[in-house]
Amino acid sequence: MIEIKDMSFGYKKKLFSELNLSLQPGNIYGLLGKNGAGKTTLLKLICGLRFPQGGQCSVLGFQPAHRPVHLLEQICFIAEEIHVPAISPDLYEKLYAPFYPRFDHEMFVGHLREFELDTTKRLTEMSYGQKKKFMVSFGLASRCRLVLLDEPTNGMDIPSKSQFRRLLARSLGEDKIILISTHQVRDMENLIDPIIVLDGGRIVFQQDMETASRRLTVTMEREEPADALWAEKTLGGWVAVRENTGSQESRIDLEVLFNTVINSTERVQALFGAPQGKETTHGNAN
């Protein structure tokens, strides 16, 4: 459904070089990476707001750089910074819903109700979090086959975050890809799966949580472990991540997994295999 092959892109400096990625429908992917890793740029390349400088990017059978109408009506992209016109929610629906053939009015109204949004206010009068909830409600009601969300929970209050998770999980269908770029990994725990980690212009990790839990084990230890893939100090000791040599799955939280991948990329790749069958340019640390 989304196939990226050897794609390169950069601004003044090269950001991606020979980037490869394949995403299949029926999943809520989590796109993680450090600041400046290119998460937002990757989302923009996928929906045709940036043009690849080399390689190929195919989305739902289209080349997004051409921004064909039949692709645009199947993409919902909600950016971190929300821009809304100075109109009422009702007028917004009248002006924008006809562009999306599968738009569901009942679903839209249901989402607004669930988020407890005041629909008598103009959109520009809403707070940042309210605007975000409105756009998420509209975007999910458009029933697009590709949903791209950039830091969707930023600005949302605590109840809204769980409402958001509920709506998103409910809206996932077999023909749908949801890709969420986020730093708020705790907000997305138990929602995003598989996990994609972007670092140094490459996809360094792409695995589902089940595989990650089968291959890695997390323990609490009093002393700093010397043989761990990754260890981080916490209250009362150290959280250590090691290869899971037993048969039991271990519960690993996203933040620890991310830190392990970023800080021990080569060792993690040796354990899981490099994403998309591509070897990294670095040697194996083991």
Binding site: K44, S58, G61, Q63, P68, V69, E73, A79, P85, L95
Partner: protein, 277 residues
């Protein structure tokens, strides 16, 4: 893999929806601007009529002059803002992701800022000037003369506006910041460059006719509109040089009336297609 279908390039229903979005999305700004212009017009007409009642001097074609300002300056400013949502951070994303083809988005902006603005401003101005005249007649017992939207001058002005605004439409997508100022400056630079080239070429081609040998006494024309050089007289009427000048003039007219607008529209459309957020 994708195929470019006719339906994907232009769909009347989708195009109508884009136009509706373009107009209805900014209806508050349009209403506020119309209110301000109508208020300004009524006030100016009132003050002018008041001045006329004191000095007994009559202003010629007050409304015609006002309409020209509204048509040209107002239209160029509105046109310059047409594609700002495609170039502004945040807004550009929503606009470029709107499910419509580049051609539909371009055509919607073109029609609303060219024919739409010209006709809309004409109807609005006719109504506003009628109200202003009504106020003047009520207060002073006389007016400045009703605005007639059906004169040849008005329609010639609209014709020229439709051509010139195409350049501002291209500037709107081309320049990310202060497009009106940058487009105006570009036109100025272009005009100065053209003027320089044409002057140098003219001196090269018609040197023999523009020196002391030229019949200077009959070439300087001074009338009510200011002063000008009568190049035909300078070059000698019926001479080969004058015929050459006529060819230059014709070429200039063809470029202005036939080529400028389509070229600017094409440049606008292509630039919109390759705009990134």
């Amino acid at each position: 893999m994708e195929t470019q279908t006719k339906e994907g390039f232009f769909n009347p229903r989708r195009f109508g929806q884009i136009m509706l979005r373009d107009l209805a999305g900014g209806y508050r700004s349009i209403l506020i601007t119309m209110g301000a212009v109508a208020g300004g017009l009524i006030l100016m007409a009132f003050l002018t009529a008041g001045g006329t009642s004191l000095t007994r001097s009559h202003s010629t074609d007050f409304y015609g002059g006002f309409y020209s300002q509204l048509l040209y300056w107002g239209g160029f400013i509105v046109t310059s803002l047409a594609f700002q949502e495609a170039r502004r951070n945040g807004a550009s994303l929503a606009y470029l992701m709107l499910p419509g083809s580049s051609f539909e988005k371009f055509l919607s902006k073109l029609l609303s800022t060219s024919v739409g603005y010209a006709l809309g401003s004409l109807v609005f101005f006719t109504a506003a000037s009628a109200v202003a005249e009504g106020v003047n007649h009520l207060v002073f017992g006389f007016g400045l003369g009703f605005f007639n939207p059906f004169t040849a001058e008005v329609w010639k002005g609209i014709g020229r506006y439709l051509i010139l605004q195409s350049v501002f439409l291209a500037g709107s997508i081309w320049f990310q910041k202060i497009p009106f100022v940058k487009t105006s400056l570009s036109i100025l630079v272009f005009a100065v460059a053209c003027g320089t080239v044409v002057s140098i070429a003219a001196f090269g081609l018609f040197a023999d006719h523009l020196g002391l040998h030229a019949p200077a006494s009959s070439s300087l024309v001074i009338n009510g509109n200011g002063w000008n050089f009568d190049l035909g007289a300078m070059l000698g009427r019926g001479s080969r040089a004058a015929e050459g000048l006529e060819v230059f003039r014709r070429v200039g007219q063809v470029l202005f009336y036939g080529v400028l607008a389509p070229a600017a529209w094409l440049a606008t459309w292509f630039k919109l297609r390759e705009t990134e957020a």
